[in-house]
Amino acid sequence: MSDFSELLEHKLGDEPGDNQKRAKRKFPALAQQHGLKVYEPGQPLPSSGNLILIGVAAGFSVYDLSLLDEITASGDRSQLQDVAIFDASLFTSMEDFEKFIPGIIPVHHTPVVGVWENGKLIAKLKGPDARVFLRRHFSTVG
């Protein structure tokens, strides 16, 4: 199974941008291989239990993809059952974020994170704050 960060690798003969198009195309299948659910807007959210929805820029942010590598490589894989993911690099406007995490805009940096508890959105984070939260939650740092 490939690492997420490999999605943006340049291949011989690539034109600038070819790697980004390839990453967008391959991201959903790779996420599923790693046990992450890919969330589409309009899909029902669980009314009980927890959900952590993570939005990354899979099409261009090697930083976000490396973070996913850290998360999926971290110890307790059962934590990933409560995680869903989406690719913000497919968005065409800032408002697209609202379809996934209401109240999150403006977004300057990815990743973005929404945390639901028993169907209620209890936290929304973006950029550096989201990275810190994810690393702590998945214990990728001491």
Binding site: L8, H10, D14, E15, P16, G17, Q20, A57, G59, F60, S61, V62, Y63, D64, A88, S89, F91, T92, S93, M94, D96, F97, P106, V107, H108, H109, G127, P128
Partner: protein, 168 residues
């Protein structure tokens, strides 16, 4: 006649020095405050040849994205002027913090980079979208055509640490 020529040469030198100094100031610092957001303004700037900032006399430009590159000209979108925009990926520093630390920023649209054609030795991009109009949540991303325009012959485009283009 000799005195007049000396005077004229001196004046010409003074004017040249003044123009060079103004250009340097304009390109390297005041753009952040002024914000280049109109195509007309940015187009006019295309003809500005950037005075080198690197010790070895090379012009290196880091385009867009989150995170600054030390010792080069960091270009970004107007959005970096927004309150709360964290520019530095590594340290979480704001634009003001980074300027205070001596980093150089230029604000412009990605479709109209404010650098003269064939004037840049190296372009760096780290984690930035190469998006066209109508794509991308922050608007158009880096345009390969603009990178190719500003690079001089033999100039390199380094994306995420890898050379992906060398201008013929």
């Amino acid at each position: 006649v000799g005195d007049f020529r000396t005077f004229a040469n001196l004046r010409a030198l003074q004017i040249k020095a003044l123009v060079a100094a103004l250009r340097w100031l304009f390109v390297t610092s005041s753009l952040v405050a002024g914000s280049v957001n109109s195509p007309t303004f940015a187009s006019a700037l295309r003809f500005t040849r950037v005075t080198s900032l690197t010790p070895k006399g090379r012009v290196i430009v880091n385009l867009g994205g989150e995170g600054e590159v030390a010792g080069v000209i960091n270009q970004n979108l107007k959005v970096i002027l927004d309150d709360g925009f964290v520019v530095s990926r590594g340290t979480g520093e704001s634009l003001a913090d980074l300027q205070k630390a001596g980093h150089t920023f230029v604000v412009s649209q990605n479709e109209f980079l404010p650098f003269a054609s064939n004037s840049v030795d190296e372009v760096i991009t780290n984690g930035v979208p190469l998006a066209q109009k109508g794509e991308g949540f922050l608007g158009p991303g880096i345009q390969p055509s603009e990178v190719q325009r500003i690079l001089q012959s033999g100039g390199k485009w380094i994306d995420n640490g890898k050379t992906i283009y060398i201008k013929p």
